[in-house]
């Protein structure tokens, strides 16, 4: 009886949705209405991603602390103590940790995003939902790790007695830029990885190399003046240097870097969406 009621109620309130199935054109932007209809699914995909990640590990959320902490320790010993890399006048440990936190997010989000579609190939073959939700939910789920690591960063700042300046107000913007960059890159690489199996294997390696293209273990000031603009094309450069400016006060807020980085970030995201949408039609046949 309840089903009948709900059926009738639905009929009164709005006309039935019409789905047209036909060959679509390759170039489409996102369908906002459709994404909205599937918002609950997105939510549960994110929750699933988070729960599963921690359910399978012995120390759970501890990884979100250990991973950046150990990277920071290694960097401090190798680059800070042995190689004596300049750290703009703050302790190397805190200097690198400010960079490791966003970088780890980027690296992990990218890795998870790319793996998401391959790992869930069966879902793609059995049910329809906006495919984009798969990599995007992985990218969003990693924000939990980011938040945990960021809290640890706050503790470290207090420990070293570093007081953030007004530039710290930019942090929400930096986070948005970081997530956008990760999402755009993930969409590109995911669409690639579904078609070509070796993308997955190349990922770890490429991410490692990319780390040296961002000022994670060294300050951006080491890059020659002439190359600064070119350097800033990598959006993570602006994000990391912006964090340092706001939290450590080692430099002024790098407005120019941020502008360039934001532009690339938006371009990455837009082109990523377009490319992903163009390729997603074949996922079920290839995956």
């Amino acid at each position: 009886m309840s089903t009948l009621d709900s059926l009738q109620r639905r009929e009164v309130t709005h006309a039935p949705p019409v789905v047209r199935i036909r060959r679509r054109t390759a170039w489409r932007l996102i369908d906002v209405g459709e994404l909205y209809r599937f918002r609950d699914l997105f939510r549960f995909l994110v929750i699933r991603e988070i729960k599963v990640r921690y359910a399978q590990t012995a120390i759970g959320v501890g990884w979100a602390i250990l991973q950046p902490l150990f990277s920071m320790l290694v960097f401090t010993v190798v680059f800070g103590r042995l190689a004596r890399v300049d750290s703009d006048g703050v302790p190397y440990a805190i200097f690198s940790f400010v960079a490791v936190v966003p970088w780890m997010y980027f690296a992990n989000a990218l890795q998870d995003g790319v793996n998401s579609l391959i790992a869930n190939a069966n879902m793609i073959r059995k049910v329809y939902f906006p495919r984009m939700m798969m990599p995007l939910s992985a990218v969003v789920a990693r924000l939990v790790d980011f938040a945990v690591a960021f809290s640890l960063l706050a503790v470290l700042l207090a420990y070293y007695g570093v007081v953030p300046n007004a530039g710290a107000l930019m942090i929400p913007v930096l986070v948005v830029m970081m997530v956008t960059t990760a999402a755009g890159t993930a969409l590109w690489l995911t669409a690639f990885a579904v078609q070509y199996r070796d993308v997955k294997h190349a990922m770890t390696f490429v991410i490692q190399i990319l780390m040296y293209a961002a000022p994670v273990v060294y300050p951006a000031s080491l890059v020659p003046e002439a190359y600064q603009t070119l350097y800033a094309i990598n959006p993570m450069v602006g994000v990391i240097e912006g964090m340092r400016a706001g939290l450590l006060g080692t430099r002024d807020m790098p407005w120019q870097m941020l502008a360039i980085g934001a532009t690339t970030s938006l371009m990455l995201a837009t082109s990523g969406i377009l490319y992903f949408r163009a390729k997603e039609r074949r996922f079920a046949d290839v995956a």
Partner: protein, 421 residues
């Protein structure tokens, strides 16, 4: 396709077609390195290949194209329960996948009016690490429910599945039967206007299957539009009012369900079937030795089932399993050559298996024959095909004991004695 009247159909399908490119594996690079190499070395050929993958401009190179579905048109009225039948490879699954928006058609179009849920598998999105509760929400939203709807139906879902006590246990600790029950309970409580269902009843134990059929029957009679694919004619007959028969990607019959089933069965009784792809082909031929039986497998006569297997590359130690199902979808007999035939150690790309089965009392109007192919040393099927052929069965004498829907009848002598009061 503009019609003169606004479409009142729940589903209208117009000249829907889907083509798959048949390429040899080595022509389709699936690693980046291979793709780059072939792009670098043979730019022209690669360009052709890229265009090749795109099935929109299918030209007359017909030999390379497999039309899984060709020019399929039909309408479904609201509230109609349509059973889709056809042999293996007839295009049933492709049709469902197109309607469920999982793949895109090569040409043609379809229009679905109403909230639609498709159920090509139970338990899609289930994760072993998550609790039963989490998985209900996950699976429910994947099937198109909103969180609020699931909240409302949660108790009903849990009750139907019978796993109340384990709701907060990760489902990896569930038995496989419990997992299936939970998955089906979510699916059974879907509340769309249009429901597209692939063969999902072939799971779970007999008791649960019976409850599922009952639940499906409720759904079918509640005014919902349903598209239902099954190899079980008894399930189709029980649930559906109309039928659609697909044959080699085209509509071969459309109309009342018993007419469609009859057409399908007469097709199936043509006792030779060839299935498979370029790597593995299987030909099954069933003959009844007793010539006087008129093509009916009578009590005491022998049915020979010859299975010819051809593989692309020579192999060692193949095995064929057969399963015979009664008209009610119950398994009546199963045989594997596994224990019979183990000395074939030489390599070959052509194998013939012959099974000779004596009818010692099968109580069913007919049996359908499934065949599975695997290696002798493994239980995983490399190919498994349902309902490759059907064989009509002769009557069994009244002296045989048989129960309702029970496919096996055994000779039984009953004596009644009047005891003195």
């Amino acid at each position: 396709m503009n019609r003169s009247y606004p479409s009142h159909n729940a589903i209208s399908v117009e000249a829907l077609s889907k083509a798959y490119r048949l390429g040899r594996r080595d022509q389709m690079p699936d690693t980046l390195v291979a793709a780059l190499r072939s792009a670098a070395m043979r730019p022209l050929r690669n360009l052709r290949r890229l265009r090749h993958l795109d099935t929109s401009q299918v030209t007359n190179r017909g030999e390379e194209t497999l039309w899984a579905l060709r020019d399929v048109s039909f309408d479904v009225r609201p509230g109609e329960v349509l059973g889709i039948v056809g042999r293996n490879g007839a295009g049933k699954s492709t049709l469902l996948k197109l309607l469920a928006q999982i793949t895109e058609p090569t040409s043609g179009e379809a229009e679905i009016r109403g909230r639609v849920s498709s159920l090509l598998e139970v338990g899609t999105g289930f994760h072993p690490e998550l609790t039963g509760r989490d998985n209900i929400y996950m699976n429910g939203t994947i099937l198109g429910m909103t969180k609020r709807e699931i909240d409302r139906k949660f108790d009903e879902i849990v009750e139907f599945s019978g796993v109340e006590k384990f709701l907060d246990t990760p489902i990896k600790r569930y038995s496989s039967g419990m997992q299936v029950r939970l998955a089906f309970s979510v699916a059974a409580n879907l509340d769309p206007e249009i429901l597209i269902i692939d063969e999902v009843l072939a799971v779970g134990d007999a008791e649960f299957q019976r409850r599922c059929l009952g639940k499906m029957n409720d759904v079918a009679t509640s005014g919902r539009t349903i598209l239902f694919v099954s190899h079980s004619m008894s399930a189709i007959r029980q649930l559906c009012s109309t039928g659609l028969l697909l044959d080699q990607g085209r509509v071969a019959a459309r109309g009342r369900v018993d007419e469609v089933i009859e057409k399908y069965m007469s097709d199936l009784f043509a006792m030779t079937t060839r299935v498979g792809d370029e790597r593995l082909q299987l030909t099954l031929t069933a003959t009844i030795d007793d010539a006087s039986g008129g093509g009916v497998w009578n009590l005491g006569s022998v049915l020979s089932i010859r299975v010819l297997v051809e593989t692309e590359a020579p192999i060692v130690g193949p095995a064929v399993d057969l399963q015979l199902h009664s008209e009610h979808g119950r398994i009546a007999a199963a045989q594997s050559d596994r224990f019979v035939h183990s000395s074939a150690m030489q390599e070959s790309d052509r194998w013939e298996f012959e099974f000779r089965i004596t009818n010692t009392g099968i109580a069913s109007g007919y049996v359908t024959i499934d065949a599975g192919f695997r290696f002798n040393c493994s239980t995983r099927y490399l190919g498994h095909w349902r309902s490759l052929a059907a064989v009509p069965i002769g009557p069994i004498p009244a002296t045989f004991a048989s129960g309702k829907r029970c496919p096996i009848a055994l000779p039984c002598h009953v004596e009644i004695g009047e005891l003195a009061a």
